[in-house]
């Protein structure tokens, strides 16, 4: 991909201009973006855990757990939860289409995947709420 093709790819007349995108394109773009975020996260995750074995008797690991259980980190984890759930649910939709299921009702399938995602995300929020707001949100 050349720099000169950038306008062709992302400009007003491109398929990536928001008003030119339809259901499947949004799903596709979302899948790529969340996928890239997740690859970056995995390497970050490994880098964090790799510091665990430094220090005597696992002191650095325990310190890491102490830090990452703080509300700010749990809140960032929740962003990860959103990204993972979208990627998984949209991935499920992709597999369904690969199997030839639901292609004719592709908009409905995407909406259903997003509805399930929303429910799971709310469930995740309820599960971690007390960790982000230890004082009950006060």
């Amino acid at each position: 991909m050349k720099v000169s093709s950038f306008k062709w790819l992302f400009g007003r007349n491109s398929e990536f201009w928001p008003t030119n995108m339809k259901t499947g394109m949004w799903a596709w773009v979302g899948h790529r973006l969340t996928g890239l975020v997740l690859v970056a996260y995995v390497f970050l995750h490994l880098a964090f855990i790799s510091t665990a074995s430094i220090g005597e008797g696992g002191s650095s690991f325990d310190a890491l757990m102490e830090t990452t259980s703080k509300p700010l980190f749990v809140a960032m984890d929740f962003l990860l939860v959103i990204v993972v759930i979208y990627h998984a649910m949209n991935g499920f939709r992709v597999v369904l289409f690969d199997l030839g299921v639901g292609i004719r009702r592709q908009k409905l399938v995407f909406l259903a995947a997003m509805a399930v995602s929303a429910v799971l995300i709310v469930g995740g929020l309820l599960a971690i709420w007390h960790l982000v707001f230890p004082n009950g949100g006060a």
Binding site: G35, L36, V39, G58, D62, V95
Partner: protein
């Protein structure tokens, strides 16, 4: 653009396509186990206490082969899915068209190196 989409599906490869789906399904299962083990296993049903995972606890768990299989199995699937995903994005955007072999080799090198890194990271827990 439609011609490019046809070309992309041709170069992606059937094995890459199949393994991407297989690893996706395995990852959902692994992720469920991983989250349960890391965040819910130690929670006391009686008091509701949520103790932080300790080095000692992880080390104890990794004395069992099942945990080692789950951790390394998950990492291998993550790398397969993530790096092949990157490859797919590059194919989608017609990046490095003339260097596709090189990209494939590069991704394999990154994947294997990261797998070794992951094995090294867990080693103190397994032996400790």
């Amino acid at each position: 653009m439609s011609e490019q989409i046809v070309a992309t599906s041709k170069v992606a490869g059937t094995w890459a396509w199949f393994l991407q789906r297989l690893s996706a399904i395995l990852l959902v299962i692994f992720l469920g186990i991983h989250l349960y083990a890391a965040h819910f296993m130690g929670v006391s049903a009686e008091t509701g206490d949520e103790p932080l995972l300790s080095y000692e606890e992880v080390s104890l768990r990794l004395d069992q082969v099942l945990y080692i299989v789950v951790d390394y199995g998950m990492l291998s699937m993550v790398l397969l899915h993530g790096l092949n995903g990157l490859r797919t994005v590059m194919l989608d955007f017609d990046m490095f068209v003339r260097r596709r072999k090189l990209v494939d080799v590069g991704l394999w090198v990154v994947g294997i190196a990261t797998m070794i890194w992951g094995i090294v990271i867990l080693w103190p827990f397994i032996t400790g």
